[in-house]
Amino acid sequence: MTDQGIGASVKRKEDLRFITGKGQYVDDINRHGQAYAVFARSPVAHATINNIDVSEALASPGVLGVYTGADLAADKIGGLICGWMIHSKDGSPMKAGAHPALAQGKVRYVGDHVAVVIAETLDQAKDAAGLIQVDYGELPAVVDVASAQAAGKAQIHDEAPGNTVYQWHLGDKDAVDAAFSKAAHVTKLDIVNNRLVPNAMEPRAAIGDYDAGQDQFTLYTTSQNPHVARLVLSAFIGIAPENKLRVIAPDVGGGFGSKIFIYAEETVCIWAAKKVGRPVKWVAERTEAFLADAHGRDHVTTAELAMDVSGKILALRASTKANLGAYLSTFASSVPTYLYAPLLSGQYDIPAIYCEVDGVYTTTTPVDAYRGAGRPEATFVVERLIEVAARETGRDPAEFRRMNFIKSFPHQTPVIMAYDAGNYGASLDKALEMADYKGLAARKAESAKKGKLRGLGFSAYIEACGIAPSRAVGSLGAGVGLWESAEIRVNPVGTIEVLTGSHSHGQGHETTFAQVIASKLGVPIEQVSIVHGDTDKVQMGMGTYGSRSGAVGASAIVKASEKIIAKGKRVAAACMEVPEDSVDFENGEFLGRGTNKKMTFGEVALQAYVAHKFDPEVIEPGLKEGSFYDPKNFTFPSGVHIAEIEIDPETGHTRIDRWTAVDDFGILINPMIVEGQVHGGIAQGVGQAMLEHTVYDENGQLITGSFMDYTMPRADDLPSYNVAMTTTPCPSNPLGVKGCGEAGAIAAPPALINAITDALGHEDIAMPATPQAVWRAAQKSARKMAAE
């Protein structure tokens, strides 16, 4: 089975349906008699709602219902929740305002949900939504995160004075201050981590369906975690008890974090389905996705690095204001705190770290996890500081990194994390060779002859993924456990269904999880079906995000497969009439040790079901096992990315000449898929660094609200990537795997900005480094050089 098992670049099983147009995304599903929902959204950033007049909309042709926040409240439908409690420095719990699915009394961002129209056709619903009359009492917008807490700013939620949700910190401030006081050199940077719009290519969608006969709700939704959606909709929002609510997330067209969260739209659709007695479908237009999908990043940070005369890093401190938007989205509070500051040690041995973070409300779209979620922000801080510190002290940036690398494991950082394994020097060496670092000077000279500016930038990133040990995250405020479940159902003929709580929306689980089964049980992947995305089929799960499906989801499958083997050995022993402890399982066969007796996996499966040859008092018939796997640690993928660029100072155009990525993801289940994840992550990181920017005007209007205005990375913006791996198996899970989904997006932005600043000869450029920004910086450099 080695050609199909762990480590093989097997072509994906799921591809056939996608390349022939037979995928089943939510918008491809239609329920008999379905009606259509259209949301009336706030056109202003901040206002009281003095009155909503829906009479004209209600009288409009085809309209089945028009509902507002008052109707939700009357039905005792709860607000949307934030599932991670953060405590401020002073010990007080975070100050969160209510987050109703339809606005109650106030709107707080452009796109906020004011009312919903349900009508026979989509066009009728759209027409009627335009007839809803809302009397807004406009209030000042609060857009800029850096000044949102200032006295005199409009108050967004009464519960959060000064628009401050929390003032959180991590680390030993006194130790850090002491280290800075004796530093030989301090590097200081002001950093803006630009706000991004996730823009999965499939817009979000939902169909709510209510079966009055069974009193049963079914929600089809574009979710990365249907069980979490069911939990929240049941336990907190109060749609229906879990046993009466089925959530189906079929094929989902990309998520990148934005489809983790439980949003207003699916909440309203499932609730309204019972109100109108019809299935209710909503599909986001791209403009709605820009307005109402949770955004990512948006930090303003001041960061400092202290070192001694030899270049040894002594301490790091950072102060960050994190824009959380107008409401706290599902995991918003955790992203700029526990997913951020614990990564500030990077790959480096830093004795003391202190980070303080203010979580701030603004009248903008809620901000939550987006590919990397906190870790790109941390890595950008660390890798910019390191690069600039090297340049300021005249050190080679590669050797400065190497000198400060953590070299022995396990390593306890001063900010929670205990790195279990790594070999950072190995990745650096390989990357330097692949990128031909030695030839850089010659290439720079060649570019200069053509009037071009060439630069090279490093990013030696770490990330913590495979989220997460439940007890650990519980102690930090998480409202859920972050294990994963798996159930292996072996059929009498030896075919297998694997039910997993992980959810694939591009990651290829139908292939990789089948490969794990092929390796563990010796069954060809063609005989293995992966079942996911349906709460009526899979009992429970925590879903896919935080690069957790390999490390946690596949580990659960391994645990369940071990139980299958154990049960199979008992059945085989009875059938072969040998002692239980003398049965071995190798390459899909049960062998009686010291005998020539053996049974294939399929034969044992059949015997388990016909149950003719064992005592049912001793062995239960059947072959089905489940597992809940809770990881004992995060996994810590790491790597070195090197970007080399060439700038045309006449136009400001930056061409990425070469991209070298050397990543250590431990054991790879499917290298082809892993490389694909790296490619996609880099593209999103390049997007952040050079192209993508979310801009609000001072009134809180989203200026970049379409693909005409928001620059998505296109094929001709990007290079081909040189991707390679080093391998340090992860000791914290049974497969030795680490997460690979977010690494590229974490690594890429600082590599690119370090390269651009290297080419420009100074440190002053913000993301995104658009041609205009680069041109301006190049002009400034030229003037500076002329003056010298």
Binding site: F18, I19, T20, A200, E285, I673, H679, L718, S720
Partner: protein, 162 residues
């Protein structure tokens, strides 16, 4: 309502439609050909790319009513029976898709690029020609490889047919 007759994937289709119906909605709603996707509202993303009279178009920017008598091919019509089109095969071979949402449009665009430029495609041409198709998952690396391979395979298939 107006009457519309056209050929979709080799099949003659006649329907009464609202004159403002877009081709993409006609394909998805009337014909239930849901392989053609809608990813934006500004004709930027290319997920809805189909072939209209042999040329690639964004079907979100075409009125169905303007397709009277036309020949339309969608992703569902690209394979011959169970034999995949070489471009479909190349996308699978090169892992040129992840979530699959942009994939039908990418494949239809890829075939059109080869039709217009021939089999000898360089990377720069492919990247430039993909300007109208957005993918958020793959970083385009493997899509470029797939179109290179698909182009060569299409040329090979053409030679074999002749």
């Amino acid at each position: 309502m107006i009457k519309l007759s056209l050929t979709v994937n080799g099949r003659r289709v006649t329907a009464d439609i609202d004159p403002r119906t877009l081709l993409v909605d006609f394909l998805r709603s009337n014909l239930r050909l849901t392989g053609t996707h809608v990813g934006c509202d500004t004709s930027q993303c290319g997920a809805c790319t189909v072939h209209l009279n042999g040329q690639s178009v964004k079907s979100c920017a075409v009125l169905a009513a303007s397709c009277e008598g036309a020949e339309v091919v969608t992703i569902e019509g690209l394979a011959t029976g169970t034999t995949l089109h070489p471009m479909q095969e190349a996308f699978r071979e090169h892992h040129a898709l992840q979530c699959g949402f942009c994939t039908p449009g990418m494949i239809m665009a890829g075939v059109d690029i080869v039709n217009r430029h021939g089999a000898k495609l360089d990377e720069a041409t492919i990247r430039k020609e993909l300007e109208g198709n957005l993918c958020r998952c793959t970083g385009y690396h493997n899509i470029v490889r797939a179109i290179e391979t698909g182009a060569a395979a299409m040329a090979g298939a053409k030679v074999a047919a002749e």
